[in-house]
């Protein structure tokens, strides 16, 4: 009897100190700073690359600035925003005998709170996918306009952004190695979300 009473009241939280946690759970964006920085460095790198002729005519200044932004972006997406926004992480682990292997992890969703809010996950993945595509466009435009000194920068940009994209896709795939299945389920999810609006 007593057990049942306790069970009944377990769901009702009368602890007013938990209001913060409740607000946290209900918020659309739980980590506003991480979300901002996830997009800030990538978008600034692209904007600086495109608009560098307006700011200064120095090739070196623009090159170094864009490279710095790309590096900050790589570091923050790999170490901070992936973990905070979608609960994924990946790294390289070297064993005792010197063999290296890559580890990809996904945080298990606990019953208390889901790993990622929808808004955060959407921002994360959109930012992660769209920017490397833009850099690929830059690659072709640089190649065909024969501004070859910029090619080094564009290739650096593509490598850094594609590395994060690849790492997080492998995290998301988890044990599933069949990329066809993953794409199909992702696309169907997108369609469902679009239709339900």
């Amino acid at each position: 009897m007593k057990q049942a009473l306790v069970d009944d009241t377990e769901d009702v939280s009368l602890d007013f100190g938990n209001e913060e946690e409740l607000a946290f759970r209900k918020a659309k964006i739980r980590h506003p700073l991480a979300t901002f920085f996830h997009l800030f460095f990538r978008v600034s790198a692209i904007v600086t690359y495109v608009c560098c002729d307006w700011f200064s005519r120095s090739f070196v200044g623009c090159f170094v600035t864009v490279l710095l932004l790309l590096s900050f972006d790589f570091w923050s997406v790999k170490n901070v925003t992936g973990r905070l926004l979608v609960g994924l992480r990946w790294w390289n682990h070297i064993d005792e005998d010197g063999k290296g292997r890559w580890i990809f992890e996904a945080r298990k969703a606990s019953p208390q709170h889901s790993v990622a809010t929808e808004a955060e996950a959407r921002i994360f993945w959109l930012g992660l996918v769209i920017c490397p595509l833009i850099w690929t466009v830059f690659f072709f435009s640089t190649l065909f306009s024969l501004k070859l000194e910029w090619l080094a920068l564009v290739i650096a940009g593509i490598s850094l952004q594609a590395a994060n994209l690849y790492g997080y896709i492998l995290c998301k795939m988890g044990g599933e190695r069949d990329i066809g299945k993953i794409t199909a389920s992702f696309l169907s999810q997108m369609v469902f979300q679009t239709v339900s609006y």
Partner: protein
């Protein structure tokens, strides 16, 4: 190679202050290059931030100041970049093809970090070039570059030699020699206009 696991206690990359951890790791590796001992810190805990910083610093210092600000050393800057990274990748591929058991990124890490002595040489050369030009100036720079070049070779060999098959060590090391030689040449022949 890629393993998806759900371990909770794995000391991977989630430490409370990842930035400090990474900065300290980079600093520790710089120390290991300056005082090369037989240790495998550079190999076990590789990262490519050090090589990137060194490459950018070296490329910035190899700038010629020119009158026309539109062409302010553009090609030279990207040149240094391409030489360093393409050279390091080529050496790594070479060592892997010879049967070395070192991973791609570990090798890049070692080669990149061992540019540190040459970057110091570049700094010294730039300072020496502020004084009056002449044969003594050149001899001083030559001496500094040779010393730092030897330091780089010794440091990188200390880290890389173990991973090469025993009868191929010379074949694997000579591209490293060539790589640092080209960088030393760029440093020695640098003159600001």
């Amino acid at each position: 190679m890629a393993k998806a696991a759900e371990s909770s206690g794995e000391p991977g990359t989630t430490s409370p202050r990842p930035l400090m951890r990474d900065l300290k790791a980079v600093g520790k590796k710089f120390m290991h290059v300056l005082y090369p001992r037989k240790s495998n810190t550079l190999l076990r805990d590789w990262d490519l931030w050090g090589p990137l910083i060194l490459c950018v610093t070296l490329a910035l210092m190899l700038q010629r100041s020119s009158v026309d600000s539109e062409k302010d050393g553009g090609p030279q800057f990207a040149e240094v970049f391409v030489i360093v990274w393409f050279g390091a990748v080529t050496i790594t591929l070479n060592s892997k093809l010879l049967g070395g058991n070192i991973s791609f990124f570990q090798s890049l890490c070692v080669l990149g970090y061992c540019i540190l002595p040459l970057t110091v040489a570049m700094l010294v050369c730039r300072l020496v070039l502020l004084a009056e030009q002449g044969p003594i100036n050149f001899m001083v720079r030559l001496f500094v570059v040779i010393v730092m070049f030897t330091w780089s070779i010794v440091a990188s060999t200390a880290f890389l030699a173990d991973s090469q098959p025993p009868n191929r060590k010379a074949l694997a090391i000579y591209p490293v020699f060539l790589f640092y030689f080209v960088i030393s040449w760029m440093i020695l022949t640098f003159t600001p206009q």
